[in-house]
Symmetry: C2
Subunit: 460 residues, 2 copies
Amino acid sequence: MLVFRRLYCSSQRIGHIAKSHKPGDSLSIQGWIKNIRRLKNNTFLDVDDGSTSRSFQVVVPRNAETQSLTAGSVISAVGQIQVAPNGNFELHADRVESLAEGHLQDGYPFTPKQKHAPEYVREHLHLRSRVDYVAAQLRVRHKAQKAIHDYMDELDFVQINTPLLTTNDCEGAGEAFRVQPDSEKLLKQMARPKVPPEESYFDSKVFLSVSGQLHLEAMSYGLGNTYCLAPAFRAENSKSPLHLAEFYMFEAELAHLDELEKLARFIEQMLKSITNRLLETSSEDLHFCQRNANASSDLPWLNVPWKIMSYDEALSVLLANKESLKTPISLDEGFSKDQELFLVSHCGTPVFVVDWPTKQKPFYMKISRTNPERVHALDLLVPAVGELCGGSLRESDAATLSAHPQLPKDLAWYVELRKYGGIHTGGFGMGFERYLQLVTGVKNIRDVIPFPRYPHSCKM
Amino acid sequence: MLVFRRLYCSSQRIGHIAKSHKPGDSLSIQGWIKNIRRLKNNTFLDVDDGSTSRSFQVVVPRNAETQSLTAGSVISAVGQIQVAPNGNFELHADRVESLAEGHLQDGYPFTPKQKHAPEYVREHLHLRSRVDYVAAQLRVRHKAQKAIHDYMDELDFVQINTPLLTTNDCEGAGEAFRVQPDSEKLLKQMARPKVPPEESYFDSKVFLSVSGQLHLEAMSYGLGNTYCLAPAFRAENSKSPLHLAEFYMFEAELAHLDELEKLARFIEQMLKSITNRLLETSSEDLHFCQRNANASSDLPWLNVPWKIMSYDEALSVLLANKESLKTPISLDEGFSKDQELFLVSHCGTPVFVVDWPTKQKPFYMKISRTNPERVHALDLLVPAVGELCGGSLRESDAATLSAHPQLPKDLAWYVELRKYGGIHTGGFGMGFERYLQLVTGVKNIRDVIPFPRYPHSCKM
């Protein structure tokens, strides 16, 4: 790492100063001026370089040069670390060089020191990373992904890049995006007999992936445990604060898994572990996000065992509390968000609802051998967001799978996996943005992803 | 990790046995039988669980039960670790339980013990992970991604999930895929005045990303150093062994970067470091892939300084060696693959070609202030694959950028980044699959990605 620093950057990032420096050390920093105060002898600059949500003060003697500095300008400052009266480190700079002017008066949408609403900030997507709480959220997002990769790698899972272009639309339901070359010329050039012209690139209709699960399964049949953390796409006309057209799914497939409870315990351990890792690497940013979202910094679910409850039990609880629910209970569909949150609150912990009605769940879930009306499926319900994960044991019997009325055509390959030395597998999918909402308390999913895509909005 | 093993799996993965066990230890494994030999008293099984390319032998007393075992079957074996005559560990099992039958005679496309050509194996994509060299390749791919994430995280880069749906097609050239909801009903439902019906979901024409660079830049203007390792898409009608319609790009943007040579040195350090990490975690799999591809296990470029050469020098070398080249030299386009490999061979090391003609490169590259005919751009050329990385300093001056004749319309946001406290940045993009080809020696890019997508082929 030293080689890198020597070769590439001579400056220190502000987020590391407290860890790696002591008072008296000389160093240089580069960053944007967030705020300026001018006293009689000195100018005080709050400087931000994107590495921390904590503000950092540079003190520089007042002179003609500092007089021309404005908020938003990029500076380079060289000096010595000192301890400020509040106990924080600050930089006493001999000189400050202006690298670029801020021009904030010429149409910059954000006012330094003023807090802007997320809806307003979102309108200026290209400049959003300069807003302190957005930057903190993006650093948390990075570290959460890192924690997932570290955890899964330690457990010997193989990350698989499941394809985003696929001929299969998994759970169907007409919510897929279709993909084709933009160039009509190319489509014509590639035309083949009996292939519709718009499908000539791949000789078939191609969609954006809604889940990597089926592809992960194929890989687990050779590699053992696998996972992916990849974009998924849904063409829904939803304005909900929990849905995006492009979002990230963390999915894993566990080989030789034959009990649903083991899957539930795996998910619980994993979520507690990655969250503890996140608290180790990013507590300052996490708390900054939580404060900004007016959310509690307390994550009580980290330290208690999570409950497991059958669908039938969950339904009884809801039926017994009809009056407290905002939505009617349906026996044909899953629970509403309101009902999910009621169950979480009723249990006092996150809760796995298991053993779902077969008719409510997709074709690939393992049907109970003792009660064919039930599948070995689970939904994990958590505070604030409701459903965070869905998972199941997979139907391992080729004949049962083939006979399923909802088995999509073109999935002969999926059935065939079971034929040659088939293994028992099970797995789950987690909406990665919902996890970020859970830990940061951010209300709208559009604010935990750098470039949100939703109905009537695809900026940049 | 212990908690996990206790909760979830009672079996040991074969790849870990040599590291974590000693002769005499009891353990159980689960996996597929690759091969069976029956001697007088004992049956010898080669068992594979997807965790290693090294074969693992289970010795079990010959009896009625082992008599019925066949290649391809899934077994569970419990016994004690012993040292085999060849010095490797093997499992002396008290019993072997058959968990599922192989049925390899009923249409399984691969013959145990026979080596099949990659083209043939590729035809059976869903079963491909059961082929030893494909599994090894996928494990290497996983560890290479892990090495990149670890390295970039240590250097404080923030991973950004750049959007795959974008209104911008970056370098244009009509090679983008177009995206729209598959449901006509949804498109009608979302119709708005003055918006073409097929664009009603986003109110605009939307493409699959061909690069995350411009979006990374926007993020670096707030966060500092950023990177992405994400899918990118090109709708080209190319059958080349170096091109895919869906591939992975590793891109990074370095803040406060003002010299092209620093970028070159960063790339060199990074590639050497991640390759050394890969050799630490995956040498067995790497060498297995190399042997299988008839490639050398020697990576001489790891231990020498890489050369830097200007475009003009590179051109002179090529012009002086016209007779040795298979392709004509063009002054309007870059070098052909043949010419790239000639330069690598001429230099005896990977080589950065720098300072390219302005007219050959895209609008965002920084124009030399001393010679406007040149941009601060680099191509990294390496053995076997030719161009591995492309990078540049970015044009930081809003006026120069605005005046560029190739600046796409709708990129006002990109120019505006430079207006408010603009910083100097530079970065690169690397085709991740080409890197895997470089280190494993695999000839065809379709064999280093789990689900290759190319003209007329999008299986599963």
